[in-house]
Symmetry: C2
Subunit: 346 residues, 2 copies
């Protein structure tokens, strides 16, 4: 029997609630499909930081390297630990160390779910560059605290980084409806974004079967709201992808429905699966967090591991649940109620 070793990092706040829910669904799906998920839980989180002074041990990345995949809940507790510590000490190093350069986020309405838009028939796959660009961390400040202060923040784009994410996106488009939207702001950012557009045009020649269109980020934000059904695969830089996927989460009914995969497509290192939402301290441990984003992320993990049938079974169970009973989704004890319903459908 195939066994997959999964590193579980529930993290903080509702991250803990939804990871537990997702894990129970994954276990049942594995049982039924005849493989084993061997989970090992790591307490790395803001609570861990407060005890130890670090978000994860010095050999944390090396420890994770031995796993087949990582399932993460959410990290952060801003009232007690600054984001600069919590995110830059755990989430972002994992993405970068394991070269999880493709952050994949599907945006569509689950059956029965009402979003904020009148439009309902969209099915978008956002692909966000996840390792460089606007979140390179390069910059500095001079004359700090004085009237003359200047702060600079430098976006760094490499051909390696841009080409691999675009190539990945072209492949995804080819496997879907054959349409790719590449998002930049080359009319105002003349170095980084013009470069991205050039690489897009170069690759377009190789993928003549994919219809690729370049959009500016402002126009794309408007399009996701005004004509989301016109989009198939959308590829964007780290920052632009970050923005568009929260917007995608919004149009699909909220962050409670937004799943994500941080993928290293060459599989030399583990990939990480996490709901897009944060730790939401205000609603932590009250049993009201929507676990669907985490469960969906778990399905993406199985799919990535090659367990396509089990992944599809989870998605079908999620969809039957939302179609049957949106009441549960809006209910008070929804973490448990939704999880139970999905388990029953599985």
């Amino acid at each position: 029997m195939t066994t997959y070793r999964i590193a579980l990092i529930p993290g903080d706040g509702i991250g803990r609630d939804v990871t537990a829910a997702a894990w129970s669904v994954l276990q049942k799906a594995a049982d039924k499909a005849g493989f084993t998920l061997d989970g090992q839980e790591f307490p790395w989180s803001c609570a861990f930081y407060k005890q130890t002074g670090t978000m994860m041990p010095a050999d944390g990345i090396e420890t994770l390297r031995g796993f087949d995949a990582i399932l993460l809940g959410a990290v952060g507790w801003p009232a007690e630990v600054p984001d600069s510590v919590s995110l830059h000490g755990l989430l972002l190093p994992i993405r970068k160390s394991f070269v999880q350069y493709a952050n994949i986020r599907p945006h569509r309405l689950l059956p029965g779910v009402k979003g904020p838009l009148r439009s309902e028939g969209f099915d978008i796959l956002c692909i966000r560059e996840n390792t460089e660009g606007e979140y390179s961390g390069a910059g500095g400040r001079v004359h700090q605290g004085t009237a003359d202060e200047v702060a600079v923040e430098t976006s760094i784009f490499t051909r390696t980084g841009v080409e691999r994410i675009l190539r990945f996106a072209f492949e995804q488009a080819r496997a879907r409806r054959g349409k790719l939207a590449s998002v930049t702001k080359s009319n105002a950012q003349k170095f980084s974004m013009v470069f991205w557009d050039e690489v897009t045009r170069k690759l377009a020649g190789e993928y003549a079967d994919v219809e690729v269109t370049s959009y500016h980020i402002d126009a794309m934000a408007a399009r996701m709201v005004m004509a989301p059904e016109s989009l198939d695969v959308v590829v964007a830089s780290n920052l632009f992808g970050d923005i568009l996927t929260d917007l995608g989460a919004a149009i699909q009914g909220g962050l409670g429905f937004a799943a994500s995969a941080n993928i290293n497509p060459d599989r030399s290192t583990p990939s990480m699966f996490e709901p897009v939402h944060g730790s939401a301290p205000d609603i932590a441990h009250q049993g009201i967090a929507n676990p669907i984003a985490a469960i969906w992320s778990g399905a993406m993990m199985l799919d990535h591991l090659g367990e396509k049938a089990a992944a599809a079974a989870i998605m079908a169970a999620i969809e039957r649940t939302t179609a049957d009973d949106v009441g549960t989704i809006q209910g008070k004890d929804r973490t448990e109620a939704i999880t139970a319903a999905i388990l029953a459908q599985l």
Copy 2:
């Protein structure tokens, strides 16, 4: 009788159509209110570039300096003139040379207009920093065209620039419903955005009557779609404001309704008023461009010039028109039909 000298730059494409419409409404409003708008038209545009090799004459900025305000249509004709020429040769130099640091864009649904959201009761004023930040134009590329290519783009934020736009936004919030949302991404951009947040916190002390909240750009994009009615004044950097105002245009029914003012609040140089939309070559000169964004921008110009009553009269005429007859707005000859309806209501 007071006379205002207005520089008219219709520009390209539908910019020409809507500027003519706005000008006729402005003239009637001025007549009725008893002041004079003395317009001088400048042909600066992509067509001008193709004749002369420049978007505006070398002394263009000096020429404009003598005016009380600038009314611009739209600039750009990408099929023939690259954006890098058209925008960086006209629109952006005007914003920067005249220190029009506050780009103001109102987002609300006009009566009768249906937007893409189920939600209809929002009234947001976006304030975008307009002179520095992510559109500073600093950067470069090395190893161009090779596998080792790296492109960098540097955002530059100065205390002068950040403090003045935040101060302006606090003042606007004070004059409205007293709520200010300041938008950054300080959990991922540790220099520029942390700096912006620090300046926000410092000013918050001076404006204790304004309730200020900091949001990350991703969360704000989602909020504008999921809970736009929770927002009053939103202030953001050049790039973030650019994105949020196209999103704002989308939720208010489209770019045809999105007005803007590029303001130098100290009034030492002319301010510029322009619809948010571009030149839309595909629908140029067919009489179908919606002139409301341009007419609304004209009303913002009168307001800025101190002609509050005339500005309010134009807004009332626009609102009566949309309330009475949304059919016209969706019609085929709408540039003329809408303009005529607004003139009749004035």
